[in-house]
Symmetry: C2
Subunit: 208 residues, 2 copies
């Protein structure tokens, strides 16, 4: 009976954003390790598949005409053009998963997150930040090939982006990936306890 | 450095309420098991100490004149008169603990919680409910000595009280104590990630 009830519950839309290098992707991978009821949304793109990339797993690969049609039909939660290619989050697969009771994570940049918020304010918006700008610089240095000037430009940009954090409901400071993922899990659990989501459950309890 | 920062953070006030028999007390005991940084507030009362009760642990035992003075000075977060005795939550020890960075739990009835909310809207208000009215009846039957009529009256009253649930930010359905305590822990963790609590931290990250 209880199980049946929980199966009926709609899943949540969880948007994880933040500056590049903050560790969004690593946190998402960590989250998926211990969760059956959580999926990361797959983006659509017009770019050619790279070797080893799987349709419907890495991306939905579609042609430009189809992509533009979908834009026209308001079929994306968010999209962007990067150089000559389009990237976007198709709405239908996300909403369908949520109907099935699965929580869906969107790991997207700050512009994308702003678009999703405009379409779907009832989502849960989490901003991931590095513990400090120096730590971000260190991470990008370890990873990358950027020269001093590019790096300084990038740090300025990151600071600008981090100012967006307070527009989000939650901020997760990524000092350690396992702890940051635990915080995201706690946020999901807590959000499922919010009273506005449990009104019908309260009626059910009283009615029994 | 990081440690120092967290030591400066103010603790949260967490109000756990709900109908009698929902399991507030058991959940609080479970919560305290694994937490260093969490305390349950101690009430003041004008009633005589019972054998084995310890001043400052079970209650602060104070005389009626003192209690009435404290009411006059607005020294309580909430108080009530039950038969001939007064009971209340003194404000100062709670606020002091919070200043020290300790999260403080108030386990109180619904009337008390309403008073605290009026004084302290920035608290976190959690309503504990039984999984069903039948389950509540079963728990109280196992515990108690109430006859059929008293029991029916009590169940009507519980239904009335549970309607208050949606005034709270969070609802925790207590089907299993360990799971319910885990949900309260998740709520505390999530609340500490709320962006409005981390504004100064964001300034700190950008500033470094």
């Amino acid at each position: 009976m209880t199980k049946h009830f929980y199966e009926k519950e709609k899943g949540l839309l969880i948007v994880i954003s933040g500056p590049s290098g903050a560790g969004k992707g690593t946190i998402c991978k960590e989250l998926l390790k211990n969760e059956d009821n959580l999926e990361v949304s797959v983006s659509a793109t017009t770019r050619q598949p790279r070797e080893g990339e799987v349709e419907g797993k890495n991306y939905y690969f579609i042609d430009k005409e189809h992509f533009l049609d979908m834009i026209g039909n308001n079929d994306f939660l968010e999209y962007a053009k990067v150089y000559d290619n389009y990237y976007g989050t198709p709405k239908d697969p996300v909403l369908q998963k949520m109907e099935e009771g699965v929580d869906v994570i969107l790991e997207i940049d700050i512009q994308g997150a702003a678009q999703v918020r405009a379409n779907f304010p009832e989502g849960i918006y989490i901003f991931v930040v590095p513990p400090s700008i120096n730590e971000l610089r260190k991470r990008i240095t370890e990873r990358g090939t950027e020269d001093e000037e590019q790096m300084n430009k990038r740090m300025d940009c990151a600071c600008e982006e981090i100012r967006n954090a307070t527009k989000y409901s939650y901020i997760v400071i990524n000092d350690k990936v396992s702890l940051a993922a635990e915080k995201v899990r706690a946020i999901i659990t807590a959000e499922k306890c919010r009273s506005e989501r449990l009104e019908s459950k309260i009626e059910e309890i009283i009615g029994r």
